[in-house]
């Protein structure tokens, strides 16, 4: 029970441990958007969102249905390129460079910014092993040793290796829902992204699987920066370091999660968090 006591000039000073070290340090920004807007024709998805995301931290995007959080998330890895008629304006900076710059190949961006979806989607015709290494095998990397190493690393990162190590050649569809979702996570991690986007990853899972994935996020953030969209506020509270509240396409408030949950600045934020609407 020894306290951290430092004697300085005969005075007793209590040093605090590292709690509450602020991460709002400019140099720690991994990804950020500046005035990002996404329109579908005349309908507005999100408008003018400027939001920094910090390195090795979990940022949660919360808000009622239709508030634009998923639209925002999908702009971060250029998924909107697929739907014609979607106009993205503003900047999305990854390590300082705008990912929408015409000289940049979206395929490369999507390797650096991975995504996990609400419903687990293992490739149905592939085995567990093939699913995990799909990001490498399907672009021509065939070295067996390398693939094995990547497979093991990714599955361990996703806390799935021990459960499937004896049946890596079985079809991926033979796994349970929670396992399939962890497989999807392993698949995304296999290509070593810098940022991992998660779109309501536990919405379709039972509480136990949800809990496992939340624990996973906690350990994973040391290796990747995570941005998670969730409609479950309590999950945002449990899992994230920074929370951003969206409402009707606008970013209402963002800040450290514990501040948002104990003392939010905006009344709309407070209303949403206390369950008064949405």
């Amino acid at each position: 029970m020894e306290p951290d006591i430092v004697r300085e000039n005969n005075t007793l000073k209590q040093t605090t441990t590292e709690h509450n070290k602020s991460f709002t340090d400019e140099s720690e920004i991994r990804m950020q958007t500046r005035n990002l807007s996404v329109h579908y024709g005349s309908a507005i998805g999100v408008q003018d969102v400027t939001l920094p995301v910090y390195n090795n931290k979990v940022t949660a995007l919360i808000g009622p249905s239709g508030c634009g959080k998923t639209t925002y998330l999908r702009a971060l890895n250029r998924m909107h390129d697929l739907t014609r008629g979607t106009i993205v304006s503003g900047e999305v900076l990854l390590d300082g460079k705008n990912i929408y710059d015409p000289s940049i190949d979206p395929v490369i961006i999507r390797r650096r910014v991975g995504m996990v979806f609400q419903k687990p989607t293992p490739f149905p015709t592939m085995s567990i092993f093939d699913n995990v290494v799909a990001g490498l095998k399907l672009v021509g990397i065939r070295n067996k040793n390398l693939l094995n190493d990547v497979n093991e690393r990714a599955l361990r990162q996703a806390a799935l290796f021990d459960e499937v190590k004896d049946r890596l050649d079985k079809p991926a569809t033979s796994l349970s829902g929670g396992q399939q979702q962890r497989l999807s996570i392993a698949r995304a991690l296999a290509v070593e992204p810098e940022v991992l986007l998660m779109d309501e990853p536990t919405s379709s899972l039972d509480p136990q699987s949800t809990n496992r994935i939340e624990e996973l996020i906690h350990t994973l953030k040391e290796q990747v920066t995570i941005i998670i969209v969730t409609h479950n506020m309590q999950q945002a509270g449990r899992v994230s370091d920074q929370t951003a509240f969206f409402y009707v396409g606008n970013l209402v408030e963002t800040g450290e999660t514990k501040t948002i949950f104990t003392n939010p600045k905006e009344s709309r934020t407070e209303d949403y968090i206390s369950g008064r609407f949405g």
Binding site: L12, H19, F261
Partner: protein, 220 residues
């Protein structure tokens, strides 16, 4: 998210022990200052009280954050509530120690009307009670917690004894009223410290069993 929560909880308890250490140090030092008539030391104790207060707010803020973000229930919830209550008690104990230091300053060089025997003993017992209660908290031992409450009766007895002694001294020699009164205040503070420890023990019992018990003192 149990792993993360448990880490935070462990952190919190470490902070709690730190704060308790600060309080025991303050109490012991205040009695030492009284014995040695150490003005400088007493001033130091009073100014250091702010660290105890700050620590309390720091821990409280963490408790609130944890409740808001982790939605604890059952034992986890009682843990956090217990921590919050214990630090309040500790903070008051710190204030009492500071009060004793204040009296040392007020007494100055004036000779004490009776030798200091019972008062240091009271302090010793109070500090011992506090340490035992923290041990009971760490070990989640509600039985020990109940036993500690019984020890409070001894301190109460000592207090009444000191009170009667000083009262008779005052009646005999009215010139000693100021000094005696100060000494009564010192022993009163020590008695209050012990009472606060029994509150902590009640919290420990609540934490372990979920029961709220009120400890009834022998002397009222």
């Amino acid at each position: 998210m149990r792993a993360a929560f448990n880490i935070h909880l462990a952190d919190l308890q470490q902070d709690l022990f730190t704060m308790a250490e600060m309080v025991t140090t303050a109490v012991n030092k205040s009695i030492t200052a009284l014995k040695n008539r150490d003005m400088e030391g007493a001033r130091q104790i009073k100014s250091d009280d702010i660290f105890i207060n700050n620590k309390r707010w720091e821990i409280e803020e963490k408790c609130i954050s944890l409740i808001a973000t982790q939605q604890p229930v059952a034992t986890d919830l009682r843990e956090l509530i217990a921590v919050q209550n214990i630090i309040t008690e500790l903070e008051r104990m710190g204030d009492y120690a500071s009060g004793i230091a204040g009296i040392v300053l007020k007494l100055g060089d004036v000779p004490l009307v009776k030798p200091l025997i019972d008062i240091p003993r009271m302090a010793e017992m109070a500090v011992e009670m506090l340490n035992r209660s923290l041990k009971a908290y760490a070990e989640r031992d509600d039985k020990s917690a109940r036993l500690i409450c019984e020890q409070d009766d001894h301190i109460d007895e000592l207090y009444h004894q000191v009170y009667r002694e000083l009262l008779s001294i005052m009646i005999e020699n009215p010139k000693t009223i100021t000094t005696s009164t100060y000494l009564i205040w010192v022993s009163h503070n020590l008695e209050r410290i012990a009472d606060r420890v029994t509150n902590i023990c009640e919290r420990i019992i609540f934490l372990v069993t979920g029961e709220m018990v009120e400890n009834v003192a022998k002397y009222e």
